[in-house]
Subunit: 274 residues, 3 copies
């Protein structure tokens, strides 16, 4: 992990380099994700340039996780067979040295998945991405009673992200109007995106999946998370210019990911540095 101070220019050029590398290598991203976003997540990974695969049977996840270049675990629409598959896949990915990204969907609001998420955290995922209330619930020692859309201060969320990052030894992303990524030492903000993105289901899950694609080509988890969030935010922002509503936004989002290039990144990536 580099400890040099990261500049906005460096982050942009690194994201451009990683995007080129990703489109060349087409890394195989293994997703165990929720039933709502299987299709849209796979399409976003394809549009960006990666090779998605949704493999979730307990019979198959161990061998597939070893074969893939990264693993993305998403806790939406949980059930115990899915939880068993996640444990197996995370253990296999870790053993094979493949990066793991965890999305703790609705953790804090539902006790079952809060406990599951804290348990999966023991496997030390390289990157965790959630919204403020999910990250706080995951870091905290209680929190089972928190509502789905509770208001939380961004300071509390960033503190929770730092605590989590030090616990996992990886990076933690808190997404919102501005996204933040920390590895417990460094902190980067990404100010891309558009409010209409909250009206399309699963764009948070998509951000997590794209982080998984970048993690397959970038060893520094903080940088991989930044690249994935910048790509997601930029594509959403460009899509919103052409969209009439959330239906067309979803379509334009995939076209924008496909069209993402160095000119767009240099022109519009908005990093927030301390």
């Amino acid at each position: 992990m580099t400890e040099e101070p990261l500049s906005a220019a460096w982050l942009t050029e690194r994201t451009i380099y990683l995007l080129t590398l990703l489109r060349e290598k087409r890394p195989l991203v293994h997703n165990i994700t929720n039933l709502v976003v299987t299709n849209t997540t796979a399409n976003a990974l394809l549009a960006l340039g990666a090779s998605p695969a949704m493999v979730e049977g307990v019979e198959e996840v161990d061998s597939f996780a070893r074969m893939a270049d990264s693993l993305v675990i998403n806790l939406g629409t949980m059930s115990s067979p899915r939880a068993a598959a996640m444990r197996l896949a995370m253990a296999a990915a870790r053993q094979a040295g493949k990066p793991v990204v965890l999305d703790p969907v609705a953790v804090g609001a539902l006790r079952y998945r809060t406990e599951l998420a804290r348990d999966l955290l023991e496997a030390k995922p390289h990157i965790v991405r959630g919204n403020a209330s999910e990250i706080i619930a995951l870091a905290g020692d209680g929190g089972g009673g928190r509502g789905v859309d509770s208001l939380v201060s961004s300071t509390a969320a960033l503190e929770a992200a730092s605590i989590l990052a030090r616990r996992t030894g990886g990076a933690v992303a808190v997404t919102g109007a501005t996204d933040y990524v920390t590895d417990g030492t460094r902190l980067i903000g990404i100010a891309n995106g558009h409010p209409m993105m909250t009206r399309v289901t699963g764009l948070g899950c998509t951000a997590t999946a794209l982080i998984g694609a970048f993690a397959a080509v970038e060893p520094d988890p903080l940088v991989a998370a930044c690249a994935g969030l910048c790509a997601t935010g930029l594509a959403g922002e460009l899509a919103a210019i052409r969209a009439d509503g959330p239906g067309s936004l979803q379509v334009e989002f995939l076209d924008a990911l496909y069209a993402l290039d160095s000119a767009i990144l240099r022109d519009a990536a908005r990093w927030v540095l301390p």
Copy 2:
């Protein structure tokens, strides 16, 4: 439940009021729905202005149904774990006083789900929405041999809907070229919609989900069902004007739900009163 005669103007203004309320409160709609429409249903709820959540694990449905503002149960792609989750969720929602909407997909054609649907009916869902053959099968005492697209007279369907409504004490919607809603006493028709909507999968399921969103803000089940069907029909109708086929219809449908407002409702809602 109001027993005043409902006028077309009253229904339009009530729908406008409910839409405003819904966009302000953003009710949390808990869906246990089929694998085909998870994504499109969530997107329709978001485009309208509600907060969708798909939670279906037996470990989580009880607590989530209590937390949500309404519950939508859809019998497509049935399996016994899903059936167990539905029973738990319906019991919890009823106990917590939350409205429940049931969509008996393919009931009549398949014995397993016909029996399940009749069993779930014991929990007295506030609103049931189906096509003519589904509603007849659900109300009837036989019907296991009925084909999926059997022709049924609309009179028979309306009689079945009335029988069902009196049994549940709620409202029953029979959808088709013209949609009808009854609570056993009152009967309202909604003549919005477009034939191309039958070429997009799951728009019936979407109608049910949108009814669930309106049921979270409207205590009268007949009125909630009318508002949901009018919103669905109008969005489909407006989408069809701009669409070249069922692919673009689906995209335009979400944009139209997002754009739905008082001007459109006053201009184009077509209520059919006895």
Copy 3:
């Protein structure tokens, strides 16, 4: 099975005839498919003119497979309950004389589904559709270690397809830049399609489903497979002209399937005959 030599003109006119018949009869296509493509497959079948149904519960597949006009089995996102449902459905369809189409997704890369696919092959599906590495793995006696995107020679794939076709007594399709269909005796190529189609998830699965729709109206499995692949390729090709990227390609693809007609087929179907 006809043994006359098939001309390009005959194949085009037969596809036109089958498309008309399909839109008239609207055959019920029973799909047990993967979690990624349930929605997009159903929409493609509807756009073409068929009646899709996704029924996968072990409680229901036997009776539904008998009721439907054809059965499509897709091995993506496998699990043992899904495997049990597939076995039941295939046995029922075969007993009822309904055509069965098998899509061996990722066979070769994953041992569990390679074994499952070989086992399902015992039920002699009328049509198998896969990419080169899947068809080779399915025909071979080893192959468990093959990677997902291994390069394979097209000659090896065609040999494997012939072996498989003779084993099942049906037709086998190998899809790629040019698609090929053989029944062990005859060999037809279809050169429609567009490279951007590989950037949309599940268009291979969609091709399989559309073959299932044609198989419901065409007794010759080779001809049904040709018609389904030509429809898929043509729709993708026309969609790519209007699309800006994979997001809009997916939308335009459904609109193009809906608009597919005799003029388009006569103008643009590209058969490759030996």
